[in-house]
Symmetry: C2
Subunit: 197 residues, 2 copies
């Protein structure tokens, strides 16, 4: 998605070979117009999948997910993150390890907001090692619902997340795919192809 | 806001005289169309205030705030909640006590996303005792920016939040104002007036 790539180039900060900071428009400050375009793009890419519900995770997944939900006219459910969970009877839960923060959280969704008839689109802001997305897949599958695809705003393609999700037979659509962050520079996958569009 | 009140009546669950649960459309599962209408309404109410930025708090404030930001064509910044903060040099911070959860969190916004020229609209999902809103006001004022108003989705008018904010000379616009939750029933303020509209 050209608009998103341009925003990453102009405002993203490469902190290391592994870390891209985009807190001026996605993770802390949020650009609503860009989120609107992102939502429209997710809706277009998954229009034929009969999606009934979007699942995301707090907090940075909420803005892109809500815009996609608006265009698809379906509800959004966000998983909550907690250090530990008590009283899990009414909850679907999974453990998610964050390599960047080096911490493990329990994520959860109330059972009543997913059922076996749901066809779910999972949306998240970043895909790196895939831990959050895999946790969300696990939760959706616990409910008996079907994961129809994963929509990612920014994919760090040099990490293993996409590969792991595709190995599970899941469709992954990432709006910006980063091939590398070496030398303080963002290189996208398919740069050249997209320039011809 | 009639649409919101109807949603509260049909889907809200009164858990006690103090607690209204609206996690089917606002706090856990989110209704994007309703958020869209809420964003439009906030934008209309604050259209003459020259707002340059919306400030909210994770996680449930994000959806209404992002929709308001879309209609007002301005950025949204969400404060993060943490049990404790280290390295606060680049952060504006405040302490917020939650009476419902009986815990105190540090909330923070990066200094660079607020400056003294900003005219800020604070948006949050609930206003009860006003602790979160007061924490956000404190953060905005630390930056030298001006708080132009507070937009609340659901106000529990029988608690002290609105009063405290108004005592500070702040304009509070709440889209649903709950007079009481006694006997398991939601009573709105101005019920009768609104029926005549």
């Amino acid at each position: 998605m050209r608009l998103l790539e341009e925003k990453i180039i102009s405002e993203g900060r490469v902190l290391s070979d592994q870390v891209l900071k985009v807190d001026s428009f996605l993770n802390h400050q949020i650009d609503p117009s860009l989120m609107n375009e992102i939502g429209k793009e997710f809706a277009a890419r998954f229009v034929n999948e009969g999606i009934t519900k979007i699942v995301t995770i707090e907090s940075s997944g909420i803005a892109p997910a809500i815009m996609a939900g608006l265009y698809m006219n379906i509800p959004v459910v966000f998983a909550r993150k907690r250090k530990s969970l008590t009283l899990t009877d009414d909850l679907l839960t999974a453990s998610v390890h964050s390599f960047t923060k080096n911490e493990t959280n329990e994520i959860s969704i109330a059972k009543k907001y997913l059922d076996s008839n749901d066809r779910v689109l999972i949306i998240d802001d970043f895909l790196a090692n895939g831990q959050a997305a895999l946790g969300l897949v696990e939760i959706v599958q616990q409910s008996g619902a079907q994961v129809m695809g994963i929509g990612i705003v920014i994919e760090k393609s040099f990490q293993k997340g996409t590969e792991k999700l595709k190995e599970l037979g899941l469709r992954v659509e990432s709006l910006a795919r980063i091939a590398s962050l070496t030398n303080g520079e963002v290189q996208f996958i398919n740069d050249k192809v997209e320039e011809l569009v």
